[in-house]
Point group: C2
Chain length 670, copies 2
């Protein structure tokens, strides 16, 4: 059915065009264009990280939630260290490649494979988290979406996938505009909100004033071991804000000269933007008293004198279908209470960026797969990512994997993030470890004292980075193991096992195929060539196969047919004599009407009699024009070919006859 | 994925064995064995035809149902004529082939195609009706089955299919025993019932005494136009009893000499058995007052003083889950009221025969498809029905089609029979018409007056047969059009269209490939042979391909590689020089990293430069041991081969290298 798939493919992808083949080296861009191209992944995490921090802290009630800016600051501090260390990575590996290259070159191919596996799983989750969060923001404008998040998220995913498959050209500019739009939307909202707060005119958010019931054990606030663990969990959830900052280290080649410096500077910009946005969001949320919890019906209760929007009996829990907007929707709603149109624009810009973050994963995965394929971690064909079909395989697999995760995790951003951060911090940690070894290896080689000092201080940055990211990874795994971290560990482990198996297979094959040095046995020619033409009827396709076989002047040549139907054998015999073919026609008997077995037996017998000879079997093949016509022709030949592959010393040569009733084919090689 | 399918196939079918290949000519059998082998299809219809007659007549209440023996007699009369005419068919076509051969030889291939299409649809329905009716009889022993008829019927179907796929050896003897068991069961039941009736000790059936509410319009019994139409409908439903009698005309070769006479005699036996059983059943059912209606909850009402088994308020309709046993179950229950064990045995024997009727369709369909394939109505490969895989395709398609029908028709025997009879009578009618033309053609050729009289009287039999079956077909189509006849007409039409398209395709191809008489252009040899070896790395597989290509001594030979990765090209070049290969290595540039296009362009250019030359492309192919390893090798070669098929004058020769790390392959032809 490959042609049916081909037809489907053309339907979805359009006909293959030359345009699609991307330049192997993309045109370098100025910072102002290159940075936004690489930023959506990192920026988008700012849209959901604050919600996760608040949601976790809400277990300790309003007291807990008021601690959120401090958690945000802690994350920003880690981010500063991580950014500092990636600046170093960029300078040391200006050709790009990021964590994978760092791990592979300093810790060996297996570490590279582990990072590669984590990156593949992360790309699934980037897509899943982004479209689910996008669906949440869509629900903030269109409430009907809320009850169908799963379907809406998968539909968004499908749209992004189709856009990637068709290689929509406009995407580059859209990304740049959307990133600036997103930054502007957040900036303006924060600015207006800040001014209103200073003027004292900032209204409380609609959810403000609801009572948040603390979980048992947190009645007296965030204290003791349980409190510390809660803060760690909030930290590890919010640490998702770091996801995507490493993207710039993989895209150094997109920048203009001086590439490394431009990329490093962009990374700093990006880090400042993300850090500020994270902390700023949490402060604003605190100001407007926005509330975000995991389970509204269980955790929220009406109190007397709460905001007008929330009419309810004091002391009663909120209803089961209570609608809870994401934090940025709540903030924008409060700040632009008087101008709902601006609110809609802000939400739309946030939603757009989230969708683009998903789409950037679709652009990035073929590159990742190509890199992994070059190192034999994936099937070789993925190396040629400019090949539309190969790229399509990657894209469709990514979409299916993400859709499956969305479905299984019920489109819950919170649950998906639990999976996401494991991979993110696994990559960070391995990368930091790699850089540490990189500096250790470099240290003995440097000459000047200044150079030496630079290496030592760089090493210190990575050591601190390693300590922080490893600690964060440990926290993530411990705090989140039962919340889903085991799933990600399983997925990463599975991807790693698959990649290592593929690599092992390729290496085993390469070892088996290696030419013995100094020995040229394999180049020795076979003694004789015995040609066989497979014949079922005397027609032009057969005649061509015979002519071609004779043209190769084999040592001996015979024509072979299997007697399935006596009438046909008779007709063949007659046609053969009439055409005066100068080749012996041998007819194999087949009492059971089988075709393949008598032929295989005949050829095996030939091979046994003269093991140093080579057999070339010429099969006249009718090439049909429609896929369904394949069921009508060459079925026996196809099966025979498949079986003969396992008989050593036999070459199968297909002599095609292109069926086309309109064309004149009287030329010998027509 | 063909190998995945292969693995699945082996799992279900077992490893291909020599045993499976059946003798092309089965051993001829005595009547006592041959007749039961061919009888299940015809006999099984006796199990459901009476139910359908009663069910239809129940629209006119008990008055209507009492007419059932007369309808049965009318059907038996038609059956007598049909049997008489098939006796003639057997004598005139002793080589078997049945309706299809008669239609093809006398009315042309298109009529044959129509009969073939009808036969294919009928085989689907034979299976569907038999297993559904089998499920009904199962429900008569195990009441829990009733609420899951659909699932039970499809499970039975799956069992029958698997048995056919594995070619269970025991089946032949089972069929013979089961047929005799079925006849004995019915005979004994009828005998005991008859004796009890004469002795006046025959109890009424459990359903006897229920009131059957006539449909509106039948309050005054079976009168007027509506009454006549009802009788026609009952007749056309019951005519399903004729299904299967033609089977013997297709299996003449299974009988011992004198084949035709034995077969004709068997057919008479079978006709008498079926006719007697049908009328006898209806008389017995009338005696015990057995009731069978389409919709118990709407048509049945309790009356005062009904049988003890049916306790209900007089005048109340029966409950919605009222359980209604098929007629033979009701009769056996009444006759053997004192011996429930015998009852169970009788029901089990009836059920077994129904299952075997389904299984006989599975044995018969590959033969039918082989016959159709020989006349190019189906893909050629079906001709070789001894080929296990080909037979499996037929078997699995039949099972899927039947399962779909069962599912769609809700496992309702009544609804399936509406579809069934259309095909049955369509075949009958065309066959009768064919025989009529046969006699007309024969008449002028006969010499003696006795011979002439025989032909004329035979023609009269077929003329009466044609009139009756054509009338029945018309009744069936008119009376049942909205009840489902349109679905069968559509299915038969679809099958016919497909078969005619396939035949047209084959004929067009044959015409295109026909060698011009007297002209031997196509046998002219190409001027020169240009050999190309496709190379991606310098290894033993490449070395073997080079050696083989050189052994065929082409006029010119070059090695070709596409530069996708510079490092690899460099390595290839070095290996090439080191191995001292006496063939020029040409490296094609590919800025877009594509492989197929540069090669196609290179080869097309070669062909343009020397159109009378022939190009042989040698592709070293790595033959893997597991199907999943296919994703890791030869992907570009496969795509290239597929594309090159459409370039005229190019022969693709695959030089296999069987990957196997354990084996030593230092021999040149390993």
């Amino acid at each position: 059915m490959p042609d049916l798939m081909g037809a489907l493919g053309r339907l979805v992808l359009g006909r293959p065009t030359r345009e699609f083949a991307p330049r192997v080296k993309p045109r370098p861009l100025r910072i102002r264009y290159a940075l936004p191209m690489l930023a959506p992944d990192a920026l988008s995490s700012v849209a959901y990280a604050p919600d996760e921090i608040l949601l976790t802290l809400a277990a300790a009630g309003l007291v807990g939630m008021s601690l959120s800016p401090w958690v945000g600051l802690a994350i920003a501090a880690v981010m500063a260290v991580v950014i500092a260390s990636y600046r170093q990575t960029i300078k040391e590996y200006p050709e790009g490649g990021g964590d994978y290259t760092v791990a592979k070159e300093n810790l060996g191919p297996l570490a590279g494979g582990l990072v590669g596996g984590a990156a593949m799983v992360d790309s699934l989750l980037t897509v899943a988290v982004s479209v689910c969060c996008g669906a949440q923001y869509l629900a903030a404008i269109i409430p009907a979406v809320e009850s169908h998040t799963r379907v809406v998220a998968i539909s968004l995913l499908a749209v992004v996938m189709l856009a990637s498959l068709r290689g929509v050209k406009v995407l580059d500019n859209t990304v740049i505009l959307a990133v600036y739009g997103f930054v502007a939307a957040l900036g303006v909202t924060a600015l207006v909100g800040g001014i209103e707060a200073l003027a004292g005119s900032l209204a409380p958010s609609p959810s403000a004033g609801l009572e948040v019931i603390p979980d048992s054990g947190f009645d007296s606030g965030v204290t003791g071991l349980a409190g510390a663990f809660l803060l760690l969990r909030a930290f590890s959830s919010g640490a998702v804000a770091l996801a995507g900052v490493q993207t710039i280290s993989t895209g150094v080649q997109r920048f203009r000269q001086p590439k490394a410096r431009s990329a490093a500077r962009s990374l700093t910009f990006l880090g400042i933007a993300c850090g500020t946005a994270l902390v700023g969001t949490l402060v604003l949320a605190d100001q407007v008293g926005a509330i975000f919890v995991a389970n509204p019906a269980k955790q929220l209760r009406y109190v007397a004198g709460s905001a007008a929007a929330l009419a309810g009996e004091p002391g009663e829990p909120v209803p089961a279908d209570f609608h809870q907007d994401p934090i940025w929707a709540q903030i924008a709603q409060t700040v632009f209470a008087a101008a709902p149109a601006i609110y809609v624009v802000v939400i739309a810009l946030i939603g757009l960026l989230l969708i683009l973050a998903a789409s950037s994963a679709f652009r990035w995965v073929p590159a990742l797969m190509s890199m992994l394929a070059q190192d034999e971690f994936l099937p070789k064909q993925f190396y040629r990512r400019s090949d539309r079909r190969v790229a399509a395989h990657g894209t469709i697999s990514l979409a299916i994997g993400s859709a499956a995760l969305i479905w299984l995790m019920d489109a819950s951003v919170t649950r998906l993030i639990q999976l996401y951060i494991v991979g993110v911090f696994l990559s960070f940690t391995i990368s930091q470890l790699g850089m540490l070894r990189h500096w250790n290896a470099k240290l003995p080689l440097v000459k000047t004292a200044a150079e030496r000092r630079r290496v030592i201080s760089s090493r210190a940055v990575n050591a601190v980075g390693l300590a922080l990211t490893a600690a964060a990874l440990a926290v993530v795994i411990i705090a989140k193991f039962t919340h889903g971290a085991w799933i990600s560990l399983g997925l990463v482990g599975g991807a790693f096992w698959m990649m290592v198996s593929i690599r092992r297979h390729y290496r085993r094959v390469a070892a088996e195929l290696k030419l013995p040095t100094g020995d040229r046995t394999d180049l020795g020619l076979p003694s004789r060539v015995h040609g066989i033409v497979l014949v079922s009827a005397m027609n032009r396709a057969t005649a061509r196969a015979l002519a071609y076989a004779r043209a190769t002047r084999p040592s001996s040549l015979e024509a072979l047919s299997v007697a399935v139907d006596l009438a046909r054998v008779w007709e063949l015999r007659r046609g053969w004599d009439r055409a005066n073919v100068p080749v012996t026609l041998r007819i194999l008997d087949s009492p059971s009407r089988e075709i393949t077995r008598p032929l295989i037996e005949h050829i095996t017998a030939l091979r046994r009699r003269a093991p140093r000879d080579m057999v070339v079997l010429y099969i006249p093949e009718k090439i049909v024009r429609h896929w369904w016509e394949r069921w009508l022709h060459n079925r026996s030949a196809t099966r025979l070919t498949a079986r003969l592959r396992h008989v050593p010393g036999v070459v199968v040569a297909s002599v095609p006859w292109q069926l086309d009733p309109d064309e004149d084919r009287s030329r010998p090689n027509g």
